[in-house]
Structures are given as C-alpha cells and as structure tokens.
Symmetry: D2
Subunit: 341 residues, 4 copies
Amino acid sequence: MYFFDNDYMIGAHPEVMEQLVATNSLHTVGYGRDEFTQKAKELILKKCGLREGDVYFLEGGTQSNLVVIDRILDYNDGVIAADTAHINVHEAGAIEACGHKIIALPNKDGKLTHQAIKEYVMSYLNDDTCHYMVRPAMVYISFPTELGTIYSLKELKRIREVCDEFHLPLYIDGARLAYGLASRKNDVTLNDIASSADVFYIGGTKCGALFGEAVVTRRPELLPRFVSLIKLRGATLAKGRLLGVQFLSLFSNSLYERIGKHAVDMAMLLKEGFMKKGYPLFIDSPSNQQFFILPNDKIESLKKIASFELWGPKGETSTPVRFVTDWSTVEDEVRALIKAL
Amino acid sequence: MYFFDNDYMIGAHPEVMEQLVATNSLHTVGYGRDEFTQKAKELILKKCGLREGDVYFLEGGTQSNLVVIDRILDYNDGVIAADTAHINVHEAGAIEACGHKIIALPNKDGKLTHQAIKEYVMSYLNDDTCHYMVRPAMVYISFPTELGTIYSLKELKRIREVCDEFHLPLYIDGARLAYGLASRKNDVTLNDIASSADVFYIGGTKCGALFGEAVVTRRPELLPRFVSLIKLRGATLAKGRLLGVQFLSLFSNSLYERIGKHAVDMAMLLKEGFMKKGYPLFIDSPSNQQFFILPNDKIESLKKIASFELWGPKGETSTPVRFVTDWSTVEDEVRALIKAL
Amino acid sequence: MYFFDNDYMIGAHPEVMEQLVATNSLHTVGYGRDEFTQKAKELILKKCGLREGDVYFLEGGTQSNLVVIDRILDYNDGVIAADTAHINVHEAGAIEACGHKIIALPNKDGKLTHQAIKEYVMSYLNDDTCHYMVRPAMVYISFPTELGTIYSLKELKRIREVCDEFHLPLYIDGARLAYGLASRKNDVTLNDIASSADVFYIGGTKCGALFGEAVVTRRPELLPRFVSLIKLRGATLAKGRLLGVQFLSLFSNSLYERIGKHAVDMAMLLKEGFMKKGYPLFIDSPSNQQFFILPNDKIESLKKIASFELWGPKGETSTPVRFVTDWSTVEDEVRALIKAL
Amino acid sequence: MYFFDNDYMIGAHPEVMEQLVATNSLHTVGYGRDEFTQKAKELILKKCGLREGDVYFLEGGTQSNLVVIDRILDYNDGVIAADTAHINVHEAGAIEACGHKIIALPNKDGKLTHQAIKEYVMSYLNDDTCHYMVRPAMVYISFPTELGTIYSLKELKRIREVCDEFHLPLYIDGARLAYGLASRKNDVTLNDIASSADVFYIGGTKCGALFGEAVVTRRPELLPRFVSLIKLRGATLAKGRLLGVQFLSLFSNSLYERIGKHAVDMAMLLKEGFMKKGYPLFIDSPSNQQFFILPNDKIESLKKIASFELWGPKGETSTPVRFVTDWSTVEDEVRALIKAL
C-alpha cells in the first residue's frame, strides 16, 4: 500500500530520530531551559535573518495557534482569517474557546486578500457602533494554505502594508512551511516570512519531526509572559529539550530544505502524472498537497493500492481527492501509482 | 424635534412607571423571589399558553442572549445564526467571550432559512473530520429581525422541523417582539412563538419597560441551575421585583399589545407617507423599524426637525436611513414629518 | 413586620424615584451618552476630588466586580482578596468564570491586612517556579467589608503602600460605601477612597438607588476600551440615563450622606439596644450591618415581629444573626424591636 | 555530577525508546486511531482490571488535568483540592482559565482528608445562599502527592465514600503513579486506583516516557465528546501513536513496575543514608521524592557533586531540600552521594 493520506503518518525523519536517540540518556534541566533548546532558538533566529527575537517551541499546530492568538488579542478583539482557514474550520472552536471571534472573510484559492482585509477594517472603522462590534485586531494567514496554495511575495507584501496601515499584527501559520518554501512557484524566503510576520510558526509535525512547532517572533513585546500563558494552556513540555533537539536537527545540514524539496518533487511528479492521464485538478497547488477530481470507479480501483483522502462528500460520478507527500514518499511508489491510473 | 432614532430613547410607558412608583415603598425579598415576580411569571406562562415552563427576568438583550446560549451550548458547540444577527454583529463578541462560535449563515431579508440550516448541518454530519469541527448545536433567530422583517408561521414551522430533525434547540430573540406580533402582515401568535421556540425572550427594554427582558422556556431542563449561571454572569438584579412589576404591568390590560399596535400603526403611517412621496424602501419592513433610501440633501433638511439614523455609510447622492417608532410616537409628529418630506 | 433582612428590600429613596419620574418622558440618546449621565459623571468626579478620571455606571455589584477585575488582569493573573470577600464567596464563581484565580488570604475581622498581602507577594517573587504560578496582580478590598467593618485611614494607606511597592492596582468594592463613610468610627473620606484606590465603585443598589453602581477611576488607562468590554459582558444598559439620573440625585443635596447617616444612626441605636439587653456581638461592626449572637428561643419570638437573617447554620442554643438598616428604617420600629428583646 | 533535581531530566527508558525507534518508519493513521494506541488502551484497561472504560492519551500533566476537570465541571462548579495541590499552585491558573474555581482545603501531609471534604460540602449545602456560591462538584487528589506522600487504602476508601455520598466524581492525578504504587508503605493497587477514581491518569512523563499521560475512566459517560474537547484545547497529537507505542512499552514486561521499584529503592537508600547521618526529614515521604532539612553549608558543599532543589526559600542556617530519583538513578552514585554527606 502506498500512503498519501497526509504528512503525519510516519515517525520522524531518520536524522531527527537519530538525534533524539543520541541525546536520550543525557540529563538536562526541564521546561526548555536546556542547551539544546537554547541552541535551536539561536539557530532558527539566524536562519530567519533575525538579529533579535524570540522562539518558543510548542507541541502542535492548534496549540500554537491558540496560545499565540490568545496572547495577542485583547478582550473584544477578533482575528481576521480566510473562511477556509484551519483555525476557522478544523480546530474544534479552539480560538472561540479562548474567547475570540474569528472574522472569516471569503478566500480566493484558499488565500486571504489584502483588499478583503482592508474593506472589512474600513467598514468597521466607519461604523458608528463599532465599539459594540468585535474589533479586527490581527490577521491570520497560512503558508501554504489549506489548499496547498502559496502567497506570492507581492501578495504577502500587500497584506503586510494593510497590516501596517491599521496596526494589525500578522500571524503566519507555517504548519507546512517547508513545502511552501520548497515550491517551484515560490518567491518567498524564510527571511521574508520572518520579516513580514509579526509572529509565525515553523511547522515540525508535518515536516519531518515526531512533533513540534517553533513559534518565532521578531517582536518579543507582542508575547509578554508567554511562558506563563503556555503553561496555563497546558502546552509546556516537561522534557522541553525534545523540541530543541528536533529543531536543531531540522535546521542542520539543510534538512528542512531537503525535506521540503523531496516532498514537492514527489508532488509535482504526481501532479504531472495525473494531468497526463487527463484528470482535472481540483485546485492548482504548487506544494505537497495535490488535489484532483477523479471518477468514482477510478477512486475505487486506486484505493486497492494507495490510501488517500476524499476531499469533501462523494459526488455522483466523480469526487475531489487529496494526495499528500512528505519526506518519506518513495519515487518508485509514485511512479507505480501513476502507472496504475 | 421629533425622535425616530430608536425605541429606547424614552423612559417606561406611563402605566409601567405608575406601578414602579406604586410599589416603591414596599419591602420584599430580593433576587426575584418576591410575589410580583412570581405573579409575573405565572401571567407570562399563561399568556404564552404554557402550562409548564420557566420564566427568568433579565436586564437586557445581550445579557439574555449570552446567558441562554452559554447555558445551552456544550464545549465545542456553536450556535447557527444569520450573518446579520444581533449576536453576530452588535454584541461585541459576547457569545465568543463565553467560548462559543457563531456559525453565521447567509441571511435572506435578515432571516435565516430552514434550507440554509439543514444544508450546513448535513455537511457537518457528512464530514469525516467533524469531531474536529465546531458542532452546530442550537439555532438563533430573532423576531422581528434586525431589519424589521418577520418570519411567517410557515417559515417558523419549517425551521422548527429542521431543529427537530437534528435535535437543535431553537432560541428566539424577541427584543422587539411586541412589534412583530402587532405587525399587520404577521400570522404568528405569542403561543406559536412559545411552542416553537425551546427558549425565547420577550423584550421589555425596547417595548415599553425601563429595562428588562423575560426569558421563557417550555423546557426547563434546558436551563439547569440557571439562577447560578445568571449570578455568575453578573446578571442578577438585587431588587429583582423591579422586573416582575414591570412585566406584570406590560402583560396586564393588554398593554404589550397596545404598545405594539401603536408603534406599528405609526410605522405604517410613516412608510405610507414616504412611499407616497416617492422615496424607495431600503427593505420592506412590516414592523416598527422603517428603512428608506433618501437623497442626501433631503436627509440634511429633515435632520433639522427630526432625529433618525443613517443605516450604513453615507452614499454619494443618497443613503439608507432608519426611522423607529415606539409607544411614545405622536401621530401629529409623524404627520408633520411626512408633510416636511 | 419590621424588615432588617438586608438593604435591598425596598425601592429607591423617594428623592431618587422622583427624578426618575420627572425625566421619564424625555427623549435622550441611549447607552449612557446622554446629558444626565454626563453630568452625573462630572459631579461624582468632583465629589471625589478628582480633576481627571472616568466614571462608568453599571447595574450591579457582581457585574461591576467582574468587568473591572477582568479588564485589569492579564492572562495568568490573580486578584488578592480576603477569604471572606464577596467575590470569593458569594458571586457564584464570576471571577473564575472570567478566567482568573482569586488568591484568598486569611481575613482579620473581614479585612485584608497589608502584611498578608506583602508576605504573599514576596513569597511569590522569591519562588523560582513563579512563572508557573498565578501572578498576584491586583488587590481587592471592600469598604465596608462583608462583616460591616471598615478600614482605618492608616490601614488603607498601608495597603496602598504595599500596592505601590509591588505595582498592584487597588480596587475597592463600595457596595455599601455610604454606610462606611457615615460610620462614627470612620476617618476615611470619599476623597481618600478615590485617591487610594486605582478603581473603586460607589454602591447605589444598597444605598438608595433602584439599582446601579458607579465605577470610578483616577487612572483611565487601566480600563482601556472599557465600553466594549462592558457590552461584551452584557452589562450595557440601553436606557443608560437611568443610572445617570439616579446618581445625579444621590449626589445632590447630600442625599448619599444623608442615606448613610440615617442607616448608621439606626444601626447604632439597634446595637446599643441589643448590648444593653446583654446580647453579645458576633462582631463589632460600625456600619449598617449589625451582628449579634441570640438565643434560639429569642430568635423564634423576634421572628414574629421582625425579619432578619441567621448568619450561618443554627447553633445548639444560640445563633449569630444579622440586622441591616437602610434609608427606610424607621426609628420607632427600631425602638419597638428593642423593647421586644 | 549526580542528578536529583526531578524525574524529567533524562529521555525515555531505553525499552520505550527502542519501541519508538522500531516503529518510526511505519505508516499509520493519525490522531490516535492507529493500532498501537488501540492495543495500549486495551492493555491499560486490562491492567487496571476494568472490563469497560475508556483511555485517552495526552501529552502532559497540566494538560490532562485541565481537559478532564474542564470536561467534568459544569458552569459555576468548582473542584475540591488540597491547598498544596499541583492544580492549585503550579499550573499557572490553568483550571481558572477554563472558568473554574479550585476550592482549596487545608492539607495534611500534602493529602486531602475525607473529613475536610465532607465538612466543606455540608456547609455549602446548609447555606441558604448556596446557589450564589461555587458548587463543589468534584474532588481532585494526587497519588503520590506533591510531597511524595501516599493515601492508604483506608484513606482512599473513605474519600470514595464521601464522594459517593455527595455524588462527586473523584479524579486522581497520577503524574508519579509508578512511584506511589511501588512504595514499600503502599497498600493501594492499580486496580484500587482504577475502581476508586471516576477518572485518573497514569503518569508517563515522570515515569519513563519521553512524554505522555494516560487518562483512564471506568465511566466513559463522564467524558462525552472528549475527543473534540481535547482538540479544542490544542491537546491532540497528530502522530498520536507515539503515545500508544510508549504506553504499550511501559505496560509490557512489567516495565512500569520495574521503573517504580528502582526509583523507590534508590529513594529509600538515599533516605536511609541521610537519616543515618542525622539529617532530619522535612516530611516522611515513602516514594521517589525525598525531603530533608540540610545545613546551608552542607548544601553548598553537596552542590559541587550533585544537583537538587531547595524546597522553599533559603533559611538562616538550614533549608529544606528535595532529592528525586527515577529509572535512571545509579546506585553507585547514590552511595557516593551518601558518603559525601
């Protein structure tokens, strides 16, 4: 069976696992005050081109999103996001459970547009009753998006400009950042992300780690007493170095880049194969998630050799499907799958 | 100056005020355990045609909405509402502050449709990842809506059917209930409201009281330990009888009906006047809020004799406006206003 | 029957009621943006000796406590209070429902001591793990306390000094402020309260109003965007002027002082009477709440002519009781009660 | 340097790590729906002597505590705990951040007593104003406690009886369960824990895992829709099998018991050594945490060869200290330390 369900079906990349094993019997202080974590933070800031800033390691994406957003928003504040955003659809109401509204705006290919943000904020500001409305107080985007699409540098800069105009912190969810950066259509660097976002996170869980995300900010003042808030949300890892060790490994020897590149290469191979066979794209994604529309009987037959997800309810004759690649995707298996189309 | 800004610019209806004065120097137990409150509860249940049920008096609409919704929803539950709903737009994020998402669906003339509810719930139930999504767990509508429109009995019954099908409690916000019931186009009775809704509230603040709303339910088990939750939200009135006395008055001698009828009569007179002069309706409202589109220079000149609200940002040449009537609207003033059009 | 259960059994003081009636048929803008509210704010600031500051009118005590404390505390912050404090015992968990711990310290006659505050904060600061503890971030006291006792000016100043030392905002719950100020043992003025507290509230509900409290701060920056938070908690009164009108009345013609003095005079008369008859005090209260220990059979016989509360569970032979006076307490009734002892 | 700071300074027990490595390259479904997790759940239920029940794997102790307590408590409910309880002192206000009060009662050697619980609940029930108080609605204890002490079977049964009498779910925090069960003074079995507690968790993080806790309940109806709540709190692990694999390993070949026994053996050796040298116990702990009172100069000299924590602020001449053992504690190092005393 070939596995294309998602990018968290397998353990850590062998290089990451190796480091976890190598450091397993060392004694260090807990709660991320160890040397590995310290080194990982410094390394990440360096790779991001940030001379100053803070890095916090957390265990998962929803957790990272909720502690960051909860920390930045004041009472009565909301976060602007695309209606398709992970926080709006697939986090079980985690942001609302912290007391905040998600101001969901229509997406364009899974992306939020600077126009939509601006229009919304303007209409809020021009409303006489705005003090009885939820204040739009930060912007959430993900890179890549839920649909695998990515923002161009130009799009990112325009969003940044709107954020500057209205003093809105910009937060970027980088659960699959490796695959966005490695996309062949991408013109955004890690430095661009780090300098555009006020806060963002570098995904580990879906990009080669056992688990873990690195929340990075160039503006530490946005996350005051963050260590206490992380604890209060039950998000503090006792053996915090596990996260430091993994990220140290991911950002050594270009591993994060290699993981991204391999997965995207495999995804492009897959896409090419499906397209050649005449299957239409559900959306044109340049990263490690590929979406096709397949006839239902083809889905049936493919399911015998590969696992993958239906993307929405089954249609009458055909259905959108999603294939996801990661560091472990094997080229021969991709080719075999294509052959079987 | 003639006042048409809203329906809470003046004190209580004289008959209500009279009772407050008459009972002012009596001693009663606090927190709504007095006889006036008890009698008002019984009277309201009777008027609603409910043999069994509970009534809770609260101080305002947002407060009523938040305690009811907070009480009914479990963790991870959301409330379905029209995108134009008061809870979604003008309550400063009160529902989210209690931890719950508002699932905002597109409105039709300010109303939620049974189709929209059904479609959304079906798509939720058919989603394999629904346990990581917010569960649609109750339905909120208002009668009349923010735009003055009202549900027909048929529409209400269809919504009820969808709620039954998916076991969703239906909550009706009756901030302006008097004006909906008194509408000439209305075919819904107070009994229909009381038997369709699982919980609803009868608006006092905007319908002749100094302040106060009566939350009514035919299913007391939906609001367990509600007295404690009301206290926890700071919504308990020490001199609770003030609410009982007012509602006793509102529901005696058909006062609530008279208030509704007078305001609607004045609203219809106003509407007729504007239409005769050729001003288009912004929306065709059958209740005490009337919306017209007026040329900006006409707005300027009218502002000299009457106060009313612009409904949205000023347009280039014309702008929607809102005129609201209540128990205190004087027929001669309405006629004078129409003359001045 | 003579009523001594509490100070919210009767309506508003006649002078207050008179103003509510006199203004009932006026049209004003809503939500407290009217002239009465504006004038009341200015008058209160003046009476408090504050040149600058803000006043917000709210509907009740628990509501005032929760919005103020919720506004001042950051995530992970707690409020220091006496274990007997109203917020710790009788508000149904309102503060915790906003996400905050009450750090309850042992009381002395219902009062918090500056030593207890200092010791606690020092132990927190000296704890290496304090970033995983709740941060003591503000101090709550009430004047008078739940037991009717009052802080001397010296005690108040010492608490202020500790607050200054550790940068803790001091919040004073003045639900029964009139009676504390009017106490014969009191050496604290309204100006002292206003200049010692960062935020405090002047109780209306228990001191002659129908309902309402005036939150006062000399440091408006402590309550940013407070109007939105008040709305979000459902605490905004549509006909906001009702609060303005009442407080304007309470602070005109020394009404608030007269109300306080009368109730305290009656309380002292009562106390003297009980003491002369040899009934021991449960606690020596100098304000409008008086606590005695009465034999159970005496309680039985008194209950025939007067209503009052047992203060705790019934003892074997005797039980603490509470008698409360207010503006409406009649001297002849007090004397008749004493005679009946 | 010999390490006795705490029980989370080193990685996983080699047998656990081995399994993580062995399963690293397998593909499984995510979010804990894999076979390893399923098998681990079945194994744990079996070891607990539960024919029916549920097991949920979480990442850490504070996280487990907050999701369980948040799930069980209704609005306005509080959890009874010892004042020294981890949730009351060292979780940064996590329970309050979920909206709930911790009703902290005086501890006895770190333990809650059945008398204290009963007295508190009785006083609540006998209070006429109890509907305006926080309702005591569940009981939290830990086994062992923060001070290393353990409940005897008799004590546990008495607490269970009080819980039964007042319908209070009992929750046991077993962060260090292995060491409590392995204590030489212990007469409580895992089966006793599982049948006494309504919900409890088996600590992994401090007992040999990389991270992870197993929440176990014999009453699944107490945790309805728990999977959604876990997600909402950001506590869902994408590669959920990591927890299943670890607990499968911990509960195979008596590893959990062996870990407990070794650590307790080392702790007893340590205790004996300190006592022989005449150093007084701070508290008599029978588990893996040992507390002594050491002269400050002795602390200085010991710090050169061993790391351990001061237990509270430094005293004038002597200070309480804590030494903690775990699976990795080396007997020779303990003996060398004792020699150096």
